[in-house]
Symmetry: C2
Subunit: 666 residues, 2 copies
Amino acid sequence: MTPPHGVAAPLHGVDPAWLPDGALRGVGARRVLVRGEGVLVDTARTEVTHACAKFGGKMVGEGEAYELLLRVTGGGDQEAEGFLLERGDGRTTVTAATPAGLLHGYFHVVRLGGATFVDAPPETHRPALDLRMLDHWDNVDVHPVMGQVERGYAGGSLFWRDGKARAEPERVRAYARLLAASGVNALGVNNVNVHATEARLLTDRIGEVAAIAAELRHYGIRTHLSVSFAAPLLLGGLDTADPLDEGVRAWWRAAVDRVYDVIPDFGGFIVKADSEGQPGPFAYGRSHADGANLLADALAPHGGTVHWRAFVYDHRQDWRDRSTDRARAAYDHFAPLDGQFRDNAVLQVKHGPMDFQVREPVSPVIGALPATRVAVELQVTQEYTGQQRHVCALAPMWSEVLRFRPRGGDGPTVGQLAAGGGLVAVSSAGYDPFWTGHPLAQFNLYAFGRLAWNPDAEPGQLLDEWIELTFTPESTGDPALLRSGLRAVLAGSWATYEKYTAPLGVGFMVQPGHHYGPSVDGYEYSPWGTYHFADRDGVGVDRSRATGTGYTGQYAPPWSDTYETPDTCPDELLLFFHHVPYGHVLHSGRTVIQHIYDAHFEGVEEVVAAQEVWASLAGLMTPARHARVSELYEEQLRCAREWRDQVNSYFLRKSGVPDGAGRLIH
Amino acid sequence: MTPPHGVAAPLHGVDPAWLPDGALRGVGARRVLVRGEGVLVDTARTEVTHACAKFGGKMVGEGEAYELLLRVTGGGDQEAEGFLLERGDGRTTVTAATPAGLLHGYFHVVRLGGATFVDAPPETHRPALDLRMLDHWDNVDVHPVMGQVERGYAGGSLFWRDGKARAEPERVRAYARLLAASGVNALGVNNVNVHATEARLLTDRIGEVAAIAAELRHYGIRTHLSVSFAAPLLLGGLDTADPLDEGVRAWWRAAVDRVYDVIPDFGGFIVKADSEGQPGPFAYGRSHADGANLLADALAPHGGTVHWRAFVYDHRQDWRDRSTDRARAAYDHFAPLDGQFRDNAVLQVKHGPMDFQVREPVSPVIGALPATRVAVELQVTQEYTGQQRHVCALAPMWSEVLRFRPRGGDGPTVGQLAAGGGLVAVSSAGYDPFWTGHPLAQFNLYAFGRLAWNPDAEPGQLLDEWIELTFTPESTGDPALLRSGLRAVLAGSWATYEKYTAPLGVGFMVQPGHHYGPSVDGYEYSPWGTYHFADRDGVGVDRSRATGTGYTGQYAPPWSDTYETPDTCPDELLLFFHHVPYGHVLHSGRTVIQHIYDAHFEGVEEVVAAQEVWASLAGLMTPARHARVSELYEEQLRCAREWRDQVNSYFLRKSGVPDGAGRLIH
């Protein structure tokens, strides 16, 4: 018996994001029958009740006339989250095999709005990926360097504050509601860098995780936990964390059993091991498969999964060592382990080989382990893409990644390859009233869930969908103008951001540590393996097999050949794969150096133009939302100019080549 | 009536530095008579008693035979700290007009050791500068970025810990003893960046300052306090801190009166105003003279002094603005105010125009205010000179500065010009058992005091003096070998450090924030005004009148002409004053680019050689001391190589000029 619950409406003082009451009009004005049992069916009833109270519809009982029927048929695949949508003869029916399917069907109907009740052929919807997870890099204690949320740009954590659980269940549930409406069904509640306090969430502080899980469960979201591989040492008092040690294995089994005692639908663990200082199996001469399988075995009896991150590289590299290539690291570590992982172990791979830069090739790891479940990790939090002070709608980038075919031709897409493990992203949400700091960054959070449900979705359609939901007609004086304005500032914003930051795929050039703003040489002589090798003659990293680090050889054909030479390498990735002279002519017809200048001037001009568009939208939304974005545009423009001027000055000073257009370079 | 006190010997577990018991043999083996009264005479008696207990001498009474007489004659200049030394006929007499003079005479005798008792003509000693002050940039609260001690590299603070007074009077007194033996007579107990907690030291927490003063007083050291110019707002509840407001003036008078109630010999205030975010008189449209005089007037009735720092510049400069020159700032701000400061207001000027780089010209401010009392500020804490992980004996640099004649010819030296205000330095001492972190960095602390007493002292003689005191013959198996080894590693260490860091006076090139280790472009595109303007053709800052910022015009002749052209500018300052092509030939006959390569290779080779010398000294001192320095040499060598390789790679990449000697540049 599930107690009734009441949070369907947005919380006072907190932005409703893509679920303002106005978005519920299509459902809320109808007679609705909900048939079925279970927590998520109750949630759907709460939602419908709320919507009908707002818009004059009615939740009807069995035997009464209805316009919308939401029903769970039972039977079939109880794990499935799909649903059948039938429209015609004045009645619309959503049929799901499971309560989760029913809830997803409900949110689908919300998205359709009035179109729900227009005759149409039956449609079957089901998620392309079973696991659609947001990972929160939230710390329980405020970390002295990284703060409450590592790489967080939206205030504090929704879950933790100053060492304690924040204990605001309504806020967590409101967040879960937004996520469920986007398609997300799993959530990691703490940072993959597990510090001392956070390690204890696994044991004596598991109750705090259970309290979060109790809220997420109402929206069909399973809770996952980042754990320390050294937990047996840190928490168990053992003298080893060796994955093959029977005492260690027993300790993990018992620990997992206790987790499931309080969180019966617990999703599993997320592990960052032997990476950037986190402990791992290497200390015991064991492989990552040994490490992952240790946890997988402990989770298996309960149906849990371990997500083992492939983000393993030498972060103490000597910049003088030109033979080591960080881009190679994940493949070199993990490709040989294919087939050695348990069925409930998932290798979680960042989408690119480096670290969430504005432009990277797709990681060769994704297509290289056919006998291993692979999850692909994206970064919704905008660490390297403007930190939620810049508008940078990432759906186009993610879409490119998800549609990429690592084996070329008719081979599977990244989206298809990720079906085995899921799509995962680092969340951008925090305690900020707009959830994501920048109000327009909500679109990234929304689009992630939608792409995880359907990796083939069109970014432009998702943008329209998000605009329709977020900016309901009743909230604005001129819906068409608002829509075109929002499209104008968002649709091309990733391309704009790329233009005014590091050029042609070379990446980084950010301020060390916090990663905001430019510093062309900021990581050039560092131990982090992120170099551009600019000198007076040219720039870029030679990763060819012929003369470079051999990284191109990690790709299957045709990409191994495409990327091998500047002739065939796409312009936007040229400096990722090749070191070329400033005078090298791109496929675009421009030289590299002129491209750098042009792109940086254009990028700033595009920000100026977007800012002007935004100004024209004043009055078409709440003043608070408009004002917040206007303020942030000031900072984006300042920062974009700083990028432009530092990058252009740097390359002018180095190359000595004047701008062909004679513009001012300092 | 002064209570007796006992701390003359070093504390257990704390290094005795330049006052090990062995250094007291010359005095301690004699019959000594001390004649006079007062706190400092009592201190001298305690010292003599301790020394005699160690070495078999005796403190004798009036009428008894003595070999050493220390006496205060009274009369004369009661402020004077000088003394007369007379040696002959088996008797040595130190005669001082004041107890302070007697104590300084005692430490002089300690330095002389056995030579005290060798016949010699009478000598009169007196300090060239009346104020010889160490400023501690110690915070009471641990600052989230700067820590307990800003720019501190020797553990915690001697005075404060985690928001409270450390309350270890014996440690403070032991420190005061070391300082007095070096010649220091004033100490600032808190950071010139005055944060909220530290501001309260002026008012409700003055008792904690008084407790420190009570210890320092036993060694003739007056206590000074850094205060916030905004204290009337922060602490007084006033709505202004306007220096011409009568309420503000009354508030400061009352605050100062309360300070003198509990610290009758309080020295005065140190103020950093309108600098790097600290509040100041500009907010009220008042001048720095108005600000300084406000505090001077409050202090005057009690004989106190305000030290007003001239470190005022725009720390939010736009790097694109080539017309602004931070080096000009102090002169531009303060030279027009000459003659406007009260008699008890001292303008405290950093020795160079920038910020304690390894090589800077002497600040033109020092010679530019003939009607103002000027103090010169040095930095003993090695912020930019290796942070007490590198051996860098600074006495040769300070000596060059102090002997410089800002008006050329027979004009006064910096040491003479500073006589009006004093010599001040940021302390390097902390809670570390070796006081200064690096055991060899003790020499810098010692040498500062000695140069403040006598700016004309020879650095080499001071080094020998420090070696003799610190490494007493009885503590080593081979005094001659040890002495030559210590000379070898210390005497040229500043020149070595200069070679492997930023070249030819251009400065900075350090990692932003903490300032340790190289980052050639670390401050190049920053708001801090510290640029080198390196491009593919050349490097350096044009500060000439003819074509640059005009900074050379702030110097009096002949320097205004000497620095104006590369032909006459000294090599070591060339890039501070001029932007030159890499092929520019130095007076040394080498090109700039070849000098950069050569100096960086040589610098590292010199560190290697020093490390080898140090290794050869094992067994000639306590193992703990030798081991600590050996460990630090590992780090110094690693860091020096990093400097060499980053700087050389940077300039090879930019200039394209290969090393003439064909050495490996990455």
